[in-house]
Symmetry: C2
Subunit: 110 residues, 2 copies
């Protein structure tokens, strides 16, 4: 399990990108996908996920559809148009930041 501090600032981007790649997903599914794609290294808790989803919805980046599976409610989240643009921007920003930080953190020349 990776040091959690690093999740800060990237959680939102992770969620957006998963929705971009998978069309629509529900919360529980997202946590599972993150664990799968990170080989168990990133464990996304619900206490972190749902506030992020609600915030993204309030900001108009994602929308929800509620469906019933038997008697159980399932809430699907998917990107809006602005959300799709926003996701690309956020992903680019991430890689840009990594490039920049790599300059600083790269092992000093031996």
């Amino acid at each position: 399990m990776i040091a959690n501090d690093l999740l800060k600032g990237t959680l939102r981007t992770i969620v957006l990108k998963l929705l971009a790649d998978n069309g629509r997903m529900y919360g529980y599914e997202i946590t599972g996908k993150v664990e799968e794609l990170s080989a168990g290294k990133i464990k996304l808790t619900f206490g972190a996920l749902y506030p992020v989803l609600h915030k993204l919805e309030a900001d108009g980046h994602i929308r929800t559809e509620t469906e019933y599976i038997g008697k159980r409610v399932r809430k699907y989240y998917s990107l809006t148009e602005t959300g799709r643009t926003w996701t690309e921007k956020k992903v680019d920003e991430f890689f840009d930041y990594v490039n920049t930080l790599t300059h600083i953190l790269n092992p000093s020349p031996a």
Copy 2:
């Protein structure tokens, strides 16, 4: 200027690595070095820097020496032994996290 959210979780690592590479530095010098190494993309504010320095000192990762340049106090920060080990660990963790996230955020196959 890069989206600031990403600084979260990495600021401490940046400071540690700079001290590892430069021996000893003072606060004002650190902000300048970060701006220089990031080509102006990362602007580290004092409100963010000093709490981090004080925390690292309280945790025993860095130590301070105070010197006088004329009448002006200058406070040099440098790594302790545990701080040196800690820095390596933190830098490794960062690159590990980037690798993991790259799997998730990588552009979907065209």
